[in-house]
Structure formats: C-alpha cells, structure tokens
Point group: C2
Chain length 215, copies 2
C-alpha cells in the first residue's frame, strides 16, 4: 500500500522546488496520502534498474504495490483519479480540469522548457544574446493568452484542481526570468498556489533533502 | 450527441496529416465514433468566438452537447475514456497507457517542437546552421531512449493504445527531418501506426480538406 516516489539525491535547483518530484509531492499532500521517497543520483538514473522504471532516465517515478509509473503528468493524474481533492465530481468539469493539465504540459510548458534550455545550455553560444528575445516572446505569447483567459478568477475553472496544480508548477519555472512579473494576474495566481498548505508541505519536504546540511 | 471538432480551413502542412486534428480524427476512427468538422481560418482562430472555446487560439477543439474541450491530449483521453478501443480494462495497464500519452506530449514532443520551430522560424537566422546539430541531438537523445524501451515490441506496452496513437503522431512530425530513419525500430513502429485502417481513414479525411481541388 505504501507509495514510493523517486527524487534527485541532489536537485540541480538546490531546493527551489522546481524539480518535478515537487509536483507529485504536492498532489499527494493535497489528497492526504503519505509517501516515501527514494533518492536517486545522476549516475543511478541512467543505470538499468532505474531505466526499467523510467525509460527516459529521469525522476520522479511512482511505485505502489505492483504498479510502476513515470512521467509527472501521468502520476499526478493517477493520484487525482484515485483520491478525492484534485478533480471535480461532475463529468464535464472533470474533463475541463484534465484539459488544463494537458494544456499546462503540452502548450504552456514547451516554450518555457525552450527558455530554460537556452539559458542553461546555450548561454555560452555566440547567438545567445541575439536569440533570447525570440525565445522570450514565444513564452510571452502563451502567458498573454493564459492571462486573458484567467482574468480575475481565482483558479482556471472553478475550484482548485489538478489542472491548477500543474499550471502553477509550470509557471513557477519562470520566476527567475522575470517574465511572470509582466502578468500580475498570473503572478497572483502562482502565489495563491504557493500559499496552499499542501504546496508548502511539499516544498519544505523537497527543501529538507536539498539543504546543505542534509545527508 | 453529435461530436464536432475543429480543423484548419487550410492546413500549413498542405495535408500531410501533421495538424493536430488528425490525432483526434484517428482516435474517433479507432473507437468508431462519427464526427463532424468545422473548418476555421487563421483569422477566425484569433477571434473571440473561437478563443472562448480555445484560449490559445488553436485547433482542434471538441464539442459534444454542453461539453467544449481543447488540447489534443485531453480530447484524445476523453474519447479513450468514454469509448472502447484505446485504453485497456485492467487498471494498471490503463495507467501505463495514460503514462505513454503524457510521455509522448511532455517528454518526446517538446524537443521535436523545438526542432520544428528552429526549421520554420529560425532558418533565416545567422545562427541557424551552427545551432541545428544541438537541437537535433536533443531529439536523438529522446529517440534513443524510446528506441531502447520499444526494442522489437509491436507497441509500447501490450496492445495498441491511446499512448501509441499519441507517440506515433508525435514521431510523425520528424519524418521530413530524416532523424526517424536513424532508428529502424521506431520507423517500423510509426509505419505500423500509419497502416492501421483507422489512421488511414483519419489521414484521408484531413487530406480531402486540404487538396487543392477541395472547397
């Protein structure tokens, strides 16, 4: 019955909560499910034992009895489907919440991933400074559309759902870039997500792993 | 009861089946559900009526009675959940098929989108030729991992599922790049997808819209 997830032995972000295990921890905290964490080194992530569980050699994974899952979206959906608190009961509202999960991961996150890649892996290239405005504008295009849809609503579609959990998590990756600050309603939306007790517990749990004093 | 989806009035790919309505058509064909198509111009996609249905101003959308959905992954999942043929009955196998849907959209497609963006929107930039090998290697990294997981299996996890539908659809975007040919088992996997009668019907239906002779 025990749920076991994997996380970085040492997260590249030093505990800012941007590693994807935070999304899974948050979902488990929202539905009140206890879990254990198995820490994995960068080396071990590329070894056969971990690749058998995660073909792309990443974290997080999710194990429960004889079920082994990878891919954050799938894990969060699995948690949301089996426990109360992350998906509405009404069938149409549920389909809309799931839509926002996919929108976060396949429409909003790809240009953000491109920005992160440009900053981390191409900052030393000759084209970096000249290309960055193009990449940032692709992110702004999505943020503008999302900002117009959200308006002054609290969450994307009625009550907080797995769709909001995923969208807030995706937008959090933008904080360091300053782009989020250009859209006050999105900044406030992200702050509402971070203020949820379940998010705070998830954040603190991943931080405890990544503190310099931690084993 | 009628299902209505949207598609490009004129697809940018000229009918190669890469516009995302093909994924939804394919899913509907697999489960044997008839559907109608409303064609949308590039102008209309950015107007309030369409934005009310799709906040990011894209196609496809899905309408059925009082339900309106956007985002291809969510639409295909909705179809798979409500009809027989795209998700296994066994709970664990179902969770694995859903995992492959998310993996296709959030792990395999983002570097492919980056490649497509580089080819379409940055080909005239001074850095294009120098940067392209980096972008291609990010795609190869994912293809290599996927190829190793697939091995000589027919589909990703047992019988054909919505996970395969999505993965094949994502990989199809690579055909013009030649990268897919470097992984014979992935090429064969994509060909098996294209050989399915439901895919052929979906492909033919979108081609009929985009033929020069079509209205």
């Amino acid at each position: 019955m025990t749920i076991v997830i994997t996380a970085f032995e040492r997260s590249p972000d030093g505990g800012k909560g941007l590693a994807r295990d935070t999304r899974v921890r948050w979902a488990l905290e929202e539905v009140g499910q206890p879990y254990e964490v198995r820490l994995v080194s960068f080396g071990a992530m590329k070894e056969p034992a971990h690749l058998a569980l995660h073909p792309f050699g990443q974290i997080p994974t999710y194990e429960e009895r004889d079920l082994g899952l990878f891919e954050t979206g799938a894990i969060v959906f699995h948690i949301a489907e089996r426990h109360t608190g992350l998906l509405p009961d009404d069938a149409n509202a549920r389909a809309c919440a799931i839509t926002w999960m996919f929108a976060a991961l396949n429409t909003v996150e790809p240009p953000i991933l491109e920005l992160v890649t440009a900053r981390i892996f191409e900052s030393d290239k000759s084209w970096s400074a000249q290309r960055m405005p193009l990449v940032e504008d692709r992110v702004r295009n999505r943020l503008g559309q999302l900002s117009r849809r959200l308006g002054d609503a609290e969450w994307l579609d009625g009550a907080f759902s797995a769709g909001d959990l995923m969208m807030v998590s995706v937008l959090l990756r933008l904080r360091a870039s300053g782009l989020l600050d250009e859209y006050p309603n999105l900044s406030a939306y992200v702050a509402r997500g971070e203020a949820r007790p379940a998010y705070k517990r998830a954040y603190d749990a991943q931080l405890a792993v990544n503190k310099p004093t931690a084993g």
